[in-house]
């Protein structure tokens, strides 16, 4: 597919975009699939599937050690992917990119490596009430291990951060602030650059959870001025089991290894081991080579084939349309109505439990997520056990939203 320019209407090219995603063209329970569970994982374009296929058919070899042609090809492609990720995030050097299994592993890496080395009793870690479990539990554990205290920035009824409380909670005790750029449960987009500036003023380090934001907004680590940023490949049309951590090089150079074993060492003797430089210091064992290479293909797809600006524009139009259409459904309440939000419609129905709604929608071929979305504190904040979440991707159309609305009316008939 050739690159589209923002001037062209994305809607006109939807046929072409959808044609790139084979999984979208199937029937579920005898109905055409309407896939609206993109915040959980996105479908994969042909280009990504082809990259994985080609790697295993032609280049499969372990990286960094072999002298033979296949090993060199695999190493070159994998390191090329690192460079592509660095460029995508606008990191200063590809040494600032550590491949991980995904966002969760990336945050655990920071908590266990940087956290254990730098936190002490009296220190505070600040997170927000809208974090998902992957940006809560690693910090709870790191705090238990080091004696530091975990503090939480509250959110308002719309699902927006309470910025006054943020100012109150940010003190010289704050050693790290972990913040989600876009909430998976509410769709809220947080003003991360502003938050980072405030955190820097008290000397805190900042970790950005970009799992949801990377596929929808452009992310520039230098512009955000964050110290760490984590994302997952599978939410940006790439494979599962691969993601990346961006870390400021000066910090990575001081951080101890997180896991040990091959590739993280320079030399091993029984009386001592010399650790490798970052990023290799943090990449023990044989990595997900095919995944890394295919992640670069996914980034090319998003960044070049379709274009992030086009994606953002289309998804915004779709979100506006979906918000309007869902607001017409009697008894539906949107959870998360922040002024700045993207791609997520989380809601409850006064006539059906989310689980019943999800089940009946599934029978109509409509895939949505129901539950707490691994963000139980968010559900507790609204006093609800779960929501129904429809989340959008570039291949979704207004027809998908219409199908959802019809599906919800069917749910009403049932219960």
């Amino acid at each position: 597919m050739q690159q589209m320019t923002p001037q062209q209407s994305i809607a006109l090219n939807h046929k072409r975009i959808r044609a790139e995603f084979p999984a979208l063209h199937q029937q579920v329970h005898g109905k055409p699939l309407v896939y609206l569970d993109n915040a959980a994982t996105t479908q994969k374009p042909e280009a990504v599937i082809d990259t994985i296929d080609r790697y295993y058919r032609e280049d499969n070899a372990n990286i960094h050690r072999g002298i033979h042609a296949l090993a060199e090809r695999a190493t070159e492609a994998y390191e090329g992917a690192r460079t592509r990720v660095a460029q995508f995030l606008n990191a200063r050097t590809d040494r600032e990119i550590i491949f991980t299994r995904g966002t969760t592993e990336a945050i655990n890496l920071v908590a266990q490596s940087w956290g254990r080395a730098n936190l002490a009793p009296g220190d505070e870690v600040l997170i927000s009430h809208m974090e998902h479990h992957s940006n809560i539990v690693p910090w709870q554990i790191a705090c238990q291990q080091t004696g530091a205290t975990l503090k939480v920035i509250p959110i308002d009824d719309h699902g927006q951060l309470d910025m006054d409380k943020l100012d109150e909670l940010l003190t010289e005790k704050t050693k790290l602030l972990g913040i989600v750029q876009m909430s998976n449960a509410l769709g809220t987009i947080n003003p991360v650059a502003t938050i980072t500036r405030k955190a820097k003023a008290v000397g805190a380090k900042v970790l950005v959870d970009a799992a949801q934001s990377v596929p929808h907004l452009g992310v520039d680590v230098q512009q955000l001025d964050c110290d760490f940023l984590a994302f997952s490949g599978h939410k940006i049309y790439g494979p599962t089991g691969i993601g990346a951590l961006y870390g400021r090089l000066e910090l990575l150079e001081e951080m101890p290894p997180y896991q040990s074993g091959g590739d993280m060492i320079k030399s091993v003797a029984f009386d001592g081991t010399v650790y490798n430089d970052p990023p290799y210091r943090f990449e023990a064992g044989t990595p997900n080579i095919a995944g890394g290479i295919a992640l670069a293909t996914a980034i090319d797809y998003v960044d070049q084939t379709v274009g992030l600006a086009n994606i953002a524009m289309w998804e915004h139009e779709l979100l506006t349309y979906a918000t309007e259409q869902l607001s017409q459904v009697k008894g539906l309440k949107l959870i998360g109505t922040a002024e700045r939000k993207a791609s997520v419609l989380s809601f409850t129905l006064d006539f059906a439990h989310p689980l019943d709604a999800g089940t009946i929608l599934d029978r109509q071929g409509i895939a949505v997520r129901t539950g707490h979305h691994c963000a139980q504190p968010v559900m507790d904040r609204y006093g609800i056990p779960a929501t129904i979440r429809a989340s959008l991707a570039v291949y979704n159309t207004k027809a998908d939203i219409d199908a959802l609305v019809v599906g919800l009316e069917k749910v009403r008939e049932f219960v």
């Binding site: 019943d356 089940t359 539950g371």
Partner: protein, 149 residues
């Protein structure tokens, strides 16, 4: 399986056979749930909560002490906040509530769920919740009649 359980299972299987499409089957399940006797809100405690399902499920067992020489009988009330889960609870109630512990433990629930097509129609998450309820019922039966363990 005793004769009541057998009859209930037969009746359910026949009813399910009548429905050709999923819609009618789900409607039937939801209707079964609507007939459930509600649980006294004061009994909705953490001890009675059954975890493992996305819905909130409470199950209150009662063991009827047997006369000398008789087997204990297990009764239970259960309720969920989701309609389809309530229907599944109603099916379990028909099969298990008011039965002897030995009959509860001997009943082939997997066979029935398979026959009703429920195993194939339920998502793994939902199956997990259903199995948690069955586990809870069986554990109560085992407690009531340790000779069956």
């Amino acid at each position: 399986m005793n004769t009541t359980q057998h009859a209930e299972a037969e009746q359910l299987a026949e009813a399910f056979d009548l429905f050709e499409d999923w819609e009618d089957r789900y409607r039937f399940i939801i209707d079964l749930g609507k007939q459930l006797e509600p649980i006294d809100p004061t009994l909705k405690t953490e001890a009675h909560r059954v975890h493992g399902c996305q819905a909130t499920v409470y199950m209150v067992p009662r063991i009827e002490k047997p006369a000398e020489g008789d087997a204990p009988i297990i009764h239970f009330l259960a309720e969920a906040d989701a309609a389809i889960v309530n229907g599944l609870i109603a099916i379990l109630t028909k099969i298990y509530s008011g039965q002897r512990a030995s009959d509860i433990l001997a009943f082939d629930i997997e066979g029935l769920l398979g026959r009703l097509g429920l195993e194939e129609h339920l998502s793994p998450t939902r199956r997990n919740g259903l199995h948690e309820m069955v586990k809870r019922i069986r554990a109560t039966a085992q407690r009531a009649d340790p000779s069956q363990a």
